[in-house]
Symmetry: C2
Subunit: 356 residues, 2 copies
């Protein structure tokens, strides 16, 4: 498929940060990257692993003008027995193609994507940190590189994979955050690109995020754009609530990203016999559950943090404190289970891990 992956090793080396110290998120990059090009007619070709370094484009390259770009985010972990594993990479490869489809970007064979990630991680395996909760964040992305200013799908693309050793999101255990319920800005709408990991979705969300910070909130809780009533996502995470023993999460409406962590959590809950429902959830439902004391927990889910407990929701200027602002039992158990599987501490009963 697409030919053999050519490997050009980085003989100059690359200074590795101390993997035991503060790594931050997406600041340090490994010694190599994967790259492959697409040309209308030829298709994807010249897959290669090369030294990490700048990429050069004509200033008319379409990605700079029309935002034809999609990406993925996933992680490799170093297990307790010093093996390096990927968490559900097939799901990311699938979603990459779904995102590409929406943005008129050519598809890439999913098995090839996973194999390319495996080979790249193998070459830079020394960069997978060992510290508790840390991991190697993997960022596959596709950009339109054709240099022409007409508005139409590009005929040239690059598919690139870069990798960054990252810390645990929560260094000292889960920390509940304040979240602002966003009533003005919209992240997406049906018929739009909200269910794709499209670059432009994120640029449009920055302003609301900045305003949230000004209200001492870590992120926004997006409402649907049509009725400004139904919950969608929290920042770049899916959102869950535990109400009266039942777990609910917004159903995939077409404007919500289908998170892989979301899927894993629904799977776990079902397995544990905890009732979980995907449905429309209005902000009024939450206000009511909060008022009558049945709102037990709330949390975001995503690859970066795994889970992120919500300590309070700021709605119409009033904070609704959830579980006294403390991390709930369920979110704690979900976190322990997923990170336990990822680190090899717990058995991989669902077949979610792939050795590299």
């Amino acid at each position: 498929m697409y030919g053999n992956i050519r490997v050009e090793l980085n003989h100059n080396g690359k200074t590795m940060p101390n993997l035991e110290e503060n790594l931050g998120f997406g600041k340090h990059f490994t010694a190599h990257m994967f790259m492959m090009d697409y040309e209308e007619g030829t298709g994807w070709h010249d897959p290669r692993i090369i030294p990490y370094g700048p990429i050069s484009h004509d200033p008319a390259a379409m990605v700079f003008h029309y935002g034809q770009a999609v990406f993925e985010g996933m992680k490799a972990f170093r297990t307790e027995s010093d093996e390096v594993v990927l968490f559900r990479p097939d799901q990311n490869a699938k979603r990459l193609n779904r995102s590409s489809e929406r943005l008129s970007i050519p598809q890439i064979d999913e098995e090839f994507v996973v194999a390319a990630i495996q080979q790249l991680v193998r070459i830079d395996a020394a960069w997978v940190p060992k510290k508790k909760g840390s991991s190697l964040y993997i960022r596959p992305f596709v950009i339109a590189t054709e240099a022409i200013l007409g508005v139409r799908p590009a005929m040239q693309y690059s598919f690139i994979i870069i990798m960054s050793p990252v810390d645990a999101y929560y260094e000292e255990g889960l920390q509940p955050v304040n979240i602002l319920v966003e009533s003005y800005f919209s992240r997406s709408v049906r018929g739009g690109t909200g269910d794709a990991k499209a670059a432009g979705n994120y640029a449009g969300s920055l302003k609301a995020q900045t305003l949230a910070k000004e209200h001492n909130c870590a992120q926004v809780l997006w409402l649907d754009a049509i009725e400004k009533k139904y919950l969608e996502e929290v920042g770049s995470m899916n959102v869950f609530f535990k109400i009266n023993g039942e777990v609910v999460t917004p159903s995939l409406s077409g404007s919500i990203l289908e998170g892989i962590t979301r899927g894993s959590i629904i799977h776990l809950l079902k397995d544990w016999g905890i009732p979980v429902t995907e449905r429309k959830i209005s902000i009024d439902d939450i206000v009511e559950a909060h008022a009558n004391g049945s709102l037990e927990e709330a949390f975001g889910t995503g690859t970066a943090a795994v889970v992120s407990p919500i300590g309070s929701l700021l709605w119409n200027g009033t904070p609704m404190v959830i579980n006294q602002g403390k991390t709930g039992e369920l979110v704690e158990k979900l976190y322990a289970t997923i990170t336990g599987i990822q680190s090899g501490k717990l058995p991989d009963t669902y077949g979610w891990l792939l050795k590299v």
Copy 2:
């Protein structure tokens, strides 16, 4: 402001296409480009005009991942008396800042932007074509260049201006096109980025455009995302209708781009004493006007084509033919007036031209 513009001339020259022949749109670029960088703390700095050529970025540059990118589109014309003029560049500089504001990109002094464009056009003045209807298309754009994967506004940007000699959109006079009324996909929604010239808006529109082509339509007519009922834009143009002697165009709802051509046309119509109204227009209004014979003309407006008559609208599988599929009188007069002013054939009574 930002220091003097440093000029490094392209001594290797650049092969100029024959400006009298087929130029296409946005395919050929001039010998020079403008560039200026932003760094948090320092602000915009190092404005320079340099030889046109590739730009190099870290693969983690935020524009590739989060689509933090805005652009403008405007034209320079060679008048009949061989002067080179810009059409309302102050409006583009203003809109660039409005777009940037929405995408959390730092503002740029508007007078500086116009001055930078003027100087760049002066240096590449030989590239402004003379052929009837042709022009030098100017593309200012700002991209986030900081290399970090966290989702937040970048702290480093580049502002770049590139230029391309282009043909008249319609080489042989205005040609009415078929337009598909799009009922599934959405371009934008209130609270989104539709009123900004944000890169991501265009990537999201490609799929609908491709489907329109499959229906033998040049473009789509976007409906609002909320009720899927009110007209927004046609492709990357604003849209106007002449109904029973009155001209109507959708009011700026927050999800529509405020076109500079749109503004110029409203100005001209008022000046001519033709009633023109900005209001909500539903597709039902159009169906009704078509049915009772009062729908006289329909057209799109934008920098690329100036005006683009709509010969038919495909709605629910049925084409509504407008003005027997012929170019209407009003659109013809608007085209003649605007291109007349741009080419210096008509006096610039509104002060729309700026000499370079």
